[in-house]
């Protein structure tokens, strides 16, 4: 499943630079699996259990089948609350748009990590999932799971009902094949090659429906890594050099609720719901994935997508950006109540967005100057007067990580007196132009950033910082050029955010092992023995309580270092949808990133089509009758 996949990657420290905060940048990358259908004759051999034992070599070198450990403790989860609505009905066509047509339908290899990959990966279920509200493990393809004593093995019992979209059953061999597939050179995906070699050791097959997945090392939160997804062995067989080319537009059999049915390159992709999908009656999937068809049409400009939406050629429109929520939505279809606006607060990991100070630069070597800098940033003014109070202050880099977040850490606030105090105490004086100077040094730093939309925020900070005697020199750069500069640690201050993972990752950002060398994520060059000690302890601990306590301490320590000035968080999603789309009473989950995600195995597919409302609305529109405009605000998961 997608969530697990996402986590996997983050766990081994591939942290994605967040280029676009709200636009859903590249689809979350994740573990493999792909959809397909219609192309079933790829391998014609009907399924035959007897052919199973020839599992590929990484699986079990000696060939004989091992026995399960005696004292295995099988777990499952049927107790957590469901989050779909029992009122949901099947039917309808859901239309959305893509900004560009996917470059391939492969899920690995060159060009496969575009935003459409999210759709494909969501339909590639894995062994286990995570409940979006309780964060407990829930069944996906595995009905039961168990933890090995060595802290690096997990056992899984597969659901015998599980089927590929071409009718073949999903069996143990498909999981073993995942390793073979992901380690193959022919897929031209070095990241996956490496991950599935360094992180996952092997898959052990006990019988067709019982497997163990073994990681390479003992680790906390092992389940986030070992819940791999299957790869259709019957479809790919033995890979060859032409893999990349051959499978560009092949539709891989998948395990999720939808499969691609039809597409026209550059124009549209249609996905159809599987009538007899194996998971439809499972507790956490019931009443979800309701629409019969999902159609993505390519509309290459967001302004035109908005026009499409107003004409009901597209069913939903993301409105997190204030311009849409406040201004563009002052339009007849909204005012007459044909379109509803929804503001849904979630409680999910917040990207660590803010200003990262490079401590290798002379000026930031002094902790006091870092503090002064933080107190000179009038983030509150930006929030109030530029961002319409829509954003909230990010208090620290790791908010929204549940118990791992230390709620007592608060960001330093704008405070001219404090700046004054700190600077004079450190022996600085105000120069002629009101900027602090000391000898040949002047408190003037370069802020690198990449997004046009952020200019309004930064120019306000610049003007306000001037009052505090600090000069910001703005350097807007192309995204990748900026990232390069920052990774080479050539910046003074980097204005950027990091993607999130399920658990806070400290080592890559704050451990001295990554300081002072290029191409690591420790862009602040934090180099502090005490911090190293805490981080090592955190990484080595297998005990959750201890990890949480350490996490809190590390967060305090980061705050004390003062190398990161947190800026904003956006703890919600805002969307507009036509009136005939309905959502559960609580329209999303704690971790919902889009209320109208049709597929995600964790949070998707909660909405449904209401035919009666459709007809009523269409009639009213024809007659020019208006309904009351509706703006729904849901604060179930709002942090207070």
């Amino acid at each position: 499943m997608r969530q697990v996949g996402k986590i996997n990657q983050a766990l081994i420290s591939v942290v994605l630079f967040i280029l676009v905060m709200f636009l859903n940048g590249c689809g979350s990358e994740g573990t493999p699996e792909k959809p397909a259908e219609g192309t079933s004759p790829a391998l014609d051999r009907p399924f035959d259990g007897a052919t199973l034992p020839d599992t590929s070599e990484p699986v079990h070198p000696k060939g004989e089948r091992p026995g399960l450990p005696e004292d295995i403790n099988w777990l499952t989860n049927e107790e957590d609350p469901v989050f779909a609505s029992p009122e949901a009905r099947k039917g309808g066509v859901f239309r959305d748009s893509l900004i560009s047509f996917p470059m391939t339908f492969r899920m690995v290899g060159p060009d496969s990590n575009g935003s459409f990959a999210g759709v494909l990966r969501s339909n590639a279920f894995s062994l286990i999932g995570i409940h979006p509200n309780t964060m407990n493990i829930i069944p996906e393809i595995a009905t039961h799971w168990a933890f090995g004593k060595d802290k690096k093995t997990m056992y899984f019992k597969l659901n015998p009902e599980a089927r590929w979209s071409d009718g073949y059953p999903v069996t143990a061999a498909d999981f073993a094949y995942t390793l073979e597939f992901m380690r193959s050179k022919h897929i031209i995906a070095p990241w996956y090659n490496d991950y599935y070699t360094r992180e996952i050791d092997r898959v052990i097959i006990y019988d067709d429906y019982t497997i163990a997945v073994v990681g390479t090392k003992a680790e906390p939160d092992l389940y986030l890594k070992l819940g791999i997804s299957p790869t259709p062995k019957h479809f790919y067989g033995v890979l060859s050099e032409d893999f990349v080319k051959k499978y560009n537009w092949e539709i891989e059999p998948n395990t999720g609720p939808y499969q691609i049915r039809e597409f026209k390159k550059g124009k549209f992709v249609k996905l159809r719901r599987k009538e007899d999908w194996w998971g439809k009656n499972m507790k956490y999937f019931k009443n979800r994935y309701n629409v019969d068809e999902v159609v993505y049409e390519v509309v290459r400009d967001s302004n035109i997508q908005w026009e499409y939406f107003k004409k009901a050629k597209q069913d939903v429109f993301g409105m997190t950006i204030p311009k849409y929520w406040y201004e563009k939505s002052k339009t007849p279809v909204v005012e007459k109540g044909y379109v509803r606006k929804i503001w849904f607060y979630n409680d999910t990991q917040q990207s660590a967005q803010g200003m990262w100070l490079n401590q290798d630069k002379e000026i930031f070597k002094d902790k006091n100057l870092r503090y002064a800098f933080a107190h000179a940033m009038n983030i509150e003014k930006v929030i109030e007067q530029v961002l319409r109070n829509d954003y909230e202050r990010l208090e620290q880099g790791f908010m929204g990580y549940g118990p791992y977040t230390n709620p007592h850490v608060k960001a330093r606030r704008w405070d001219l007196l404090k700046v004054e105090e700190i600077m004079t105490a450190s022996g600085w004086k105000k120069g002629e132009d009101g900027i602090w100077v000391k000898g040949p040094n002047r408190f003037s730093v370069e802020v690198v950033y990449s997004l046009d939309e952020h200019t309004p925020r930064i120019v306000v900070l610049k003007e306000e910082a001037k009052k505090a005697g600090i000069e910001l020199r703005l350097q807007q750069m192309d995204g990748s050029a900026m990232f390069k500069k920052v990774l080479e640690k050539k910046h003074d201050v980097a204005w950027m955010g990091w993607s999130t993972s399920l658990r806070p990752q400290y080592w890559e950002h704050f451990h001295s092992a990554n300081a002072h060398i290029p191409q690591t994520n420790n862009i602040t060059n934090t180099d502090d023995p005490e911090m190293d000690r805490l981080i090592d302890a955190y990484r080595n601990s297998l005990d959750e309580k201890e990890r949480i306590a350490l996490s809190w301490k590390i967060q305090e320590k980061i705050h004390e270092t003062g190398c990161f000035v947190p800026t904003f968080r956006v703890p919600y999603v805002r969307e507009a949808c036509w009136r005939w789309w309905r959502l559960p009473k609580v329209p999303g989950t704690r971790h919902t990133l889009s209320l109208f995600d049709p597929f995600s195995s964790t949070t998707g597919g909660l909405f449904w089509y209401d035919k009666a409302l459709y007809e009523e609305t269409r009639e009213a529109m024809a007659a020019g009758r208006a309904f009351d405009p509706v703006t729904l605000v849901d604060e179930t998961y709002k942090i207070r």
Binding site: Y326, E327, K381, E384, Q385, V386, R388, L416, E420, K430, E432, D433, G434, D452, T455, P456, I458, V459, V460, K462, E463, K466, K467, A468, G469, L474, Q475, Q476, M477, D478, A481
Partner: protein, 347 residues
Amino acid sequence: MPINPLTLKKIRRFSSIKRGFYSFLILSSMILISFFAEILVSNRAIVVNFNGKFYFPTYGQIITGKTFGLDYEYETNYRELAREFKQGKGGNWVLLPPVPYNPYENDLRDNEYPPFPPSLKDRHYLGTDTVGRDILSRLVYGFRIAILFSLGLLAANYTIGISIGCAMGFVGGKFDLFFQRIIEIWSNVPFLYVVIIISSIVVPSFMMLILIMAFFEWIGMTWIMRTMTYKEKAREYVLAARAMGASDFRIIFRHIIPNAVSVIVTFAPFSVSGGIVALTSLDYLGFGLPPPTPSWGELLQQGWANMDAYWIVGSVIFAMTLTLITVTFIGEAVREAFDPRFHTTYE
């Protein structure tokens, strides 16, 4: 030094072409005004009279709020000071510039979000942009930058172009052939892409942008000067000068260039408008001078993205049209004035 009667004739002819002449007046006054923009468009007051003492904050170091009895250590907000002095007694007063905003400051308000429409009361005569900066102020300072930029670019292009072009024409032979090939190769480099690539790696400063652009634009002038020199070199007066023992240096500078000057001068105004357009388009695309430098291109970009804030796009389009038209009219008039055939359609 007495003015050459020929030059006098050209000047007279130029001023007789009304359209060009008035354009010249308008443009020069615009440039002149922009050079003293700090007095007319600035958040700093022109004069402050506080407790019987006069302050002139326009140029020089900042005067903190404490100086005027306010409770802060950063630069005085003179608009607020003016308001305060008006209410209080004591004969203190502030003379603000007609546009009391500098091009960088954000005039933000509570519960209201920019862009704000034009307002006489707030003295935002052309409204504000999407971050609350005064548009008129940004236009004026943006104009100053644009015009200085294109003059600088012109100087750079002409220096390179004239020297290399003259040398090619005068020396001829292998030197000429060599540079011809260089130019042919050079002119095939896609200028815009290179600028985009460069400015995505390093953020260009004013001088650097001039250098980058001059790097590609010297070709035009070089080509023209080469031809001109070839032509003039073959004339009898050059032969005569040479027969009298004039040095190459003297021939080029005293004979050839003065005779080619009409071409150089004629091209100048068009180069200026070309420079303005180039800077504006680069800024528009986001590859020009770094923000928050006041720039027409950036305003144009904002205007495009916020069509309902008509004042943004309206102001900048009007300003651009005015500038480019005046420059073009001047160019036409100059060409006409320098035309030895006196053939004209302007009178």
